[in-house]
Symmetry: D2
Subunit: 294 residues, 4 copies
């Protein structure tokens, strides 16, 4: 059990009455527990906490009546219940392992055109035997081949672009990992989070794959350890996970993000450890119940 | 209450053991009732009916052990409880009308890059006052400007392509309609179905928009009446709704689709009626409960 | 006959031995005469002036042996022999009017995918009768519909993107104009230049169309007058016309561009004048000789 | 000196008066000599032979006054003066080797977005030392990784698509080869031709690179031998080289292409020979004269 303190300060300017949704709170579920949290807006505006039943993303819906500059502060203490498992100890996977819940994470999405890259993925990673080895191969290939280059991409950039351009940032690394996994029939989803020791501090993006009845965490940028990211938003890709969705004019003035470790001193997972261990949600889900068989 | 008989015959060839998911059954929910149905495979294979809790799509998961040719037959009688409402009688919409359930249908998806086309949509449809008028304008514009041309597009074609090429089929018309709606902050989703009097008979694709607390149905091809389509699959776009998702080698040999009307004689909605009436799911949903307000 | 003084100062940093091509000199041909010019590099480097026989673009090929910072200064006095002709007085055009010389300007190119947009162009501009009216319609439509937004595009942006995004800068406006013209069988080419009164001062991009045996000049941004641009580079699109093509590491440190008028006071062409007059190269070329007819 | 007989029969249907350009004649220049040729149209239509001064492509411009079906027959005997040179015997290349004539073949074009793939090309081929080894590496990589799949692509498909899809036909193989070469500063151009022993017989597409003052021929499909293709059209990519460019309604009814060898029996170059030898135009051009040096 690892304990983190996370913090986010946002300054927004609004230009008229509008509603906006913020997705900055840590998820609160069986693999990650929010122990304490506070959320404030200055000057105060009506806001409502909504939790999505499907993704467990937690939104603050905020109604700004008057134009002005607003300061938003979120702080939380979060316990993360992730498990490290030796790659060699993983159970084999079968198609029985995934059900309808995982289906959206097999399909192509806005930024992850997995339908286009099956041949490419098979050429590069088809020789790996197990799903975990395939994902390890994908993460290693991305890390070796794609240049982490701030400013090289825009909000339009997709996994296809990143395959061509060979450059991107954390969001692009995650999209490419997801697209490659899905094209090999491995369910994969995107998540954002607060990452311990990320330099420069910012929101981070990583991905998870569904193998052997569990979600496993991966960071192809290697800028964080998969076991040290406090999850915020989860979805098919970045299209589902915006820090802010505004129905009207709104401008970000500044954004500060912080994540610190509250237990003993802590090291990033080494390259060696990343090769031999995978980081998983603790709970192994059974294959979904099957209501009617003929 | 309209009653339809639908039927679908598929011949598939398989090349080794594989699992595949079929999505050909009519949805069975409060706005569409399956009165009778039968599903058979010849020669028989183990199959399981699964219903997605989120989309209500109904899948037959089929396990084919041996290579061979399989004949699949689905027949159903379905009662559709859609309502026609005069455009002039619709309640006004506010942002309060949609909650987290509708959020995925506001975001861009694989084939509907609504994030790219905000300026274009505003230039073309910004002058319409209400959401319904905007959608009517979009449907009319697509009908007037995009050539319905069989063979003009592929499985890779997206709404951006269709905007450029000005040609497509039902799937492309739906994607473009959805992308335009979302870019104007109107939630929109894709559905496939059995369409009465569609020539040539085939699976059809249309879209729905969330306005004033209801889903409304639209067909920008004008090849069917929105009140005469029996819904099968629903999702963000065609990526979520495949007739068949196969985890292994499978080939479609033939496919026959039929939809007939079981009540008195029936006419397609006229152009005049399409201008003055909208087709809605009967049930108006309240805005989702809001668990915690500060 | 209009006389302009143009000036360009560039500061480049190089990181090792390299060769680079600069394309900053004014064209010197029958429709634009270079009266005086000077070109210098500090510290001096070996350089050679090369003129392309096909495009008449003038390149300085520079060999930088040592890493360092180089200051390049170009100044010229240029007489421009363009003609303004009333739209109503133009001769009719036939396919005989263009030969193999114009063929490359009918074909799609890197940033002008005219092959994709024939239906769109016909829907928007098919009702105009003559080629000149079509181009006037295209220029007006771009001016009305595309937002001139600095920073909205990158070096990858093409006419297809601009059609979708409805935003761009001078380069994007020119690419879209060219693509639309070519898709309607009107030869169109790209040029860059020094533009009188452009704010902020910079290199500018416009386009020309081949109608009735002459090249005519158009600026869909309306930021310059077509009769007040001193031409530098000409080609199918921006891919053919770079200020600098470097075979090695080179970085632009700063760039200053100036264009002033040397005769009496000068006004931009008014909206009214732009509707009734077209700006042409003075020389009307006959259709190319046809070597052998059977 | 190899001698080939080539033949092409086309049946076109026209729907009104139109002009069209055919590009089916063998090039006639210093590296390929047309010894005999005949060209006929039935029923006869006015036609003119035009030869482009830049590309040496030979066009028949045909004026069809009346709608109807036309049969076009072209036959020629062509002597090809290509040279096979051992890779080990090639002179070193410097930037001095190319001048303005080669510049268009360094720039990105409609189907060859070399501007996007510099990092990718460097990652895959940067370790090869000489330009010829780089091109050999590119041809081998394409041959190993891209599936030759008839029907997998359309007229819109570009090198970027082929990199993503890993499938294509001869045109796509050539585009990808060209884009990769240009991104490594090796001038590369597209050509079409009649290919000896191509199965099924059809027009073929290959590419040439400018290395050490000569154009060298490459076929990444390995379906033909580079020394056994009679060249027809040459350009930046397929956009410049259409069999038929029509200014009006025209439909291809059928197309038959033939290429046979007229000397002793002939074998395709073996994999071994393709590794050790390159096929070049006989004439080595000097670097272009440099008119003025300061």
């Amino acid at each position: 059990m690892n304990k983190f303190r996370v913090k986010c300060e946002l300054d927004y300017e609004t230009f008229g009455p509008l509603v906006f949704l913020l997705n900055i709170r840590a998820q609160d579920n069986e693999s990650q527990k929010v122990v304490e949290e506070s959320f404030s807006i200055l000057p105060n505006m009506p806001h409502t906490l909504l939790t999505c039943g499907v993704t467990q993303n937690r939104f603050d819906r905020i109604t700004a009546e008057l134009p002005g500059t607003y300061h938003i502060l979120y702080e939380a203490v979060v316990e993360s219940a992730l498990e490290k498992i030796p790659v060699s100890g993983l159970p084999p996977t079968t198609h029985e392992d995934f059900g309808l819940e995982q289906l959206p994470f097999l399909y192509p999405s806005r930024y992850c055109q997995s339908d286009r890259i099956g041949r490419l993925a098979f050429a590069l990673f088809g020789h790996f035997e197990t799903p975990v080895e395939k994902v390890q191969g994908i993460v290693e290939w991305i890390h070796q081949n794609i240049a982490y280059t701030i400013g090289s991409t825009t909000a339009n950039t997709s996994a296809m672009d990143t395959l061509v351009d060979h450059a991107g940032v954390c969001r692009d690394f995650a999209h490419l990992g997801i697209a490659l996994c899905r094209s090999l029939n491995i369910p994969a989803r995107y998540f954002t989070g607060y990452a311990f020791e990320l330099q420069p501090p910012d929101f981070h993006a990583c991905f998870e794959t569904w193998i052997g009845g569990r979600w496993m965490l991966w960071d192809a940028t290697r800028l964080s350890s998969p076991d040290s990211v406090v999850r915020i938003g989860m979805g098919q890709d970045a299209a589902d996970v915006s820090v802010c969705t505004a129905f009207g004019g709104l401008k970000v003035k500044s954004q500060r993000v912080m994540c610190e470790y509250l237990s003993e001193s802590r090291a990033k997972m080494s390259a060696e450890e990343l090769r031999s261990m995978v980081v998983c949600h603790e709970v192994r889900r059974e294959a979904p119940a099957q209501p009617k068989t003929s």
